[in-house]
Symmetry: C4
């Protein structure tokens, strides 16, 4: 068996399995499980009682995960030359390293290696530990859900920008007006326009925590108008994502049906 054939085999195992490749599919399931367990670990670690009771388990699992993800990363960089886009042994690999998924792969193992090479203080270390949550994005290679949401956002980019602009202008206007009306009565909660925006977002998204709300009659009147008119405006981006998602799904169904025939 030549060296090239090993590289080829590694490449095929790393790539998403096509259904008939036993080892490749096994590997996909293994990586997926590792990712999910990692996300669970990051979440669970923040629960004090669990963290304190199983600190060693978490540590060993982290070593194992970084080991696996590091090998996976090296393997991908090594074998990426089989892909049409990254053919060139040197420039192809550089290009690959700066591709979106490869950056995610690198960022996913970074929090482990950085403290080995640089002296990092405790606070930053804590951020780094939490930063491991980025490993969730490694699922992007395997999950339809990830691909779909990325495609919808890419396709509807323009509409989303337009509606988000409207949302932002609406928020500025509503908050400026409310700031002026309520500032005197509640100098704490409506201290400035940026702080009034907290009220604005809570109201226009209809979350309405209830930590800030107008108390003057004029403020309530203004707040009522803003709520009635603004809720519709704030629903626009949601509507665009939903409709984009809908047509994406319909297209997938159509493609599936065409394959079946």
């Amino acid at each position: 068996m030549t060296s090239k054939s090993i590289k080829r085999q590694v490449f095929e195992v790393l790539e998403k399995g096509q259904g008939n490749d036993y080892w490749s599919r096994r590997f996909d399931i293994f990586i997926m499980t590792m990712i999910l367990l990692n996300v669970a670990a990051v979440i669970m670690e923040t629960v004090e009682s669990i963290h304190d009771g199983y600190i060693e388990v978490f540590d060993y699992f982290e070593y194992l995960s970084v080991f696996v993800f590091s090998i996976e990363y090296v393997g991908r960089v090594w074998t990426c030359t089989y892909l049409e886009n990254y053919k060139h042994p040197f420039w192809g690999r550089i290009k690959f390293i700066f591709s979106f998924m490869a950056i995610i792969d690198l960022l996913a193992i970074m929090p482990f290696y950085l403290p080995l090479f640089f002296s990092i203080d405790g606070r930053v270390l804590r951020v780094l530990r939490l930063f491991r949550i980025i490993r969730i994005f490694k699922m992007g290679r395997y999950s339809t859900a990830f691909n779909m949401i990325v495609r919808v956002i890419t396709k509807r980019r323009e509409e989303l920008l337009v509606t988000l602009t409207i949302v932002f202008v609406m928020l500025i206007l509503a908050s400026s007006l409310m700031y002026y009306v309520e500032n005197e009565a509640q100098p704490e909660a409506f201290r400035s326009i940026p702080e009034t925006m907290w009220w604005g977002v809570a109201t226009l998204t209809t979350v309405g925590y209830g930590d800030v709300y107008p108390i003057t009659p004029l403020g309530k009147l203004l707040g009522a108008f803003i709520a009635i008119l603004g809720v519709g405006i704030f629903a626009l981006p949601a509507g665009i994502i939903a409709s984009g998602f809908d047509s994406e799904i319909k297209q997938r169904i159509k493609e599936k049906e065409e394959k079946e025939f």
Copy 2:
């Protein structure tokens, strides 16, 4: 009149009446009324004043209900062999017993029989009493609403899974970020990522009880972005159910119109 003809009659009465079968329809209405009264009883029993005042009425009604539902269950198991799917006298009946609606029928009477055969402590008994609320699902045989929602969820299974995955990933990311930002300022409410998820669900579904919300400027900025962007994502499953429901209704109308011609 032979034994078989009695079995046939029982079968036809138990089956949903087809409009021209007087006794079968009467029986349907009787069972529906029993189910509705049972649901009402479970709900009303939890109101202390009603419970204390009518404790005997509730008990006798429970005996009557279990009696009726038990006969119904036995009848259904006995006569299920008339159905194409459950023809075989033994294996057909076994298969029938493990069908969804038959399990519901059994679970609906279980809470009464279990304490007769096993010694059960008070706390579990209370759960069992409440468990009778499962009788509401017996309505599934008669109600269009039940059938429709089941059909919509079955048909849109995949899309619902995809969007629920996105919702869950969104929730994890939002809660992880917010946990890191707010944990120091509010160690009680944002004690861990799982606990921060309570804030995440309340915000992203726009319920916004107001028991937890960010108080630091950075937390508010993050919360505002999460609310504006996340609400659209969380609206996806609702949109899929709504659109599935819509097309289900349109199909029903079309079928009705075709029948009329």
Copy 3:
């Protein structure tokens, strides 16, 4: 001029003006103004400072309104025989009196006449005064908005019933489960299933006042699941009304365009 021609004239003035009938349109505008002023009066009267300052104005305006609406009512009953549906001098009028809009017309003036014929205590009197808000429905004759919402609800009757059933079942299940989980920790707020339904409605409609919410870990987990899944279910009736409204509007536009050609 014969008596019949006066009746005819009264009938035409009372009927909604067709654009070229000067007096009929004037009368429509007059009645509309009276209705709007009446609604404003009922609302304003509840503000103590306004009520105390203008008590006589409100009283005189009420006399005037009842006078006008009484004449209108008598006129409509008198002339209804011109309508195809209410031809018969006696039975036609009886039928007319029990038509929806005529009942509204009668209920709108009742609160004034009842205390003249029956001795009514203070509390009931107050209800009667507020009951005048029903005059808002008299707008139904003139307002497109009223007609449209009535038509949408009538047309989508079945779908609304189906979805409202689902909403109700969902509410019962969510509240029963939450009652069992939270009852011990918060015996006040989750005292019984009916009281837990207050939490259920606030959560599933996403209003989320924040007066009741689960505090136990299990209650929060259950609440999160209910919120994520239930919000979609509770959005169903809204979606049906919205889509019904949409098609109603499209039809109206089409009809308009056809008229123009």
Copy 4:
């Protein structure tokens, strides 16, 4: 170079650049930047610490902005005669001055000039400073988002009016009923129908701050019904704006595709 050619040049620079006119596009970007910086300045000025630290920067920036916007305004009035609609040297300019965008342009600089000509007390001065937020509307000339929302609202004017009427009637009815039911138990929060409307808006838009909510059993029952039924009604205007936006976007995409061929 004749005077007319300068006027022509000024006109072309002021008009929105068509892609190949270098100076015109530069000028557009310059004005857009000025507008955005102005909006940011108005917002930032309200933050005390920023205001106190950079008071002179804000003042100088205001002088510069008014200078630029004044020249822009004079230039537009001077050169508007090139536009078909405002040809006449005198009446055309008068007509232009009263056009929507020109009024915005004037209002945008007014807050600076008014105090120079009239003696204005401190409170009004503060309103005037905040009034500069109106400069955000100057973006209307350049932003697709602004044009789109204006077009959607103009096109769906009628539907919006119809649904807003329904929303308003719903609000009046819900608040009148709730006022009557809760007034006795909570005379503060439900003091009058107009004050109860604050509860009505918070509930029906599902904002639900939680500052007011019914506490009597009857009030809760009524509140639950209003929430379940009313939320659908209040979603109507949002639905119309969303669907109007959707068709506007589809039309734009179609127009683009047609241009490309």
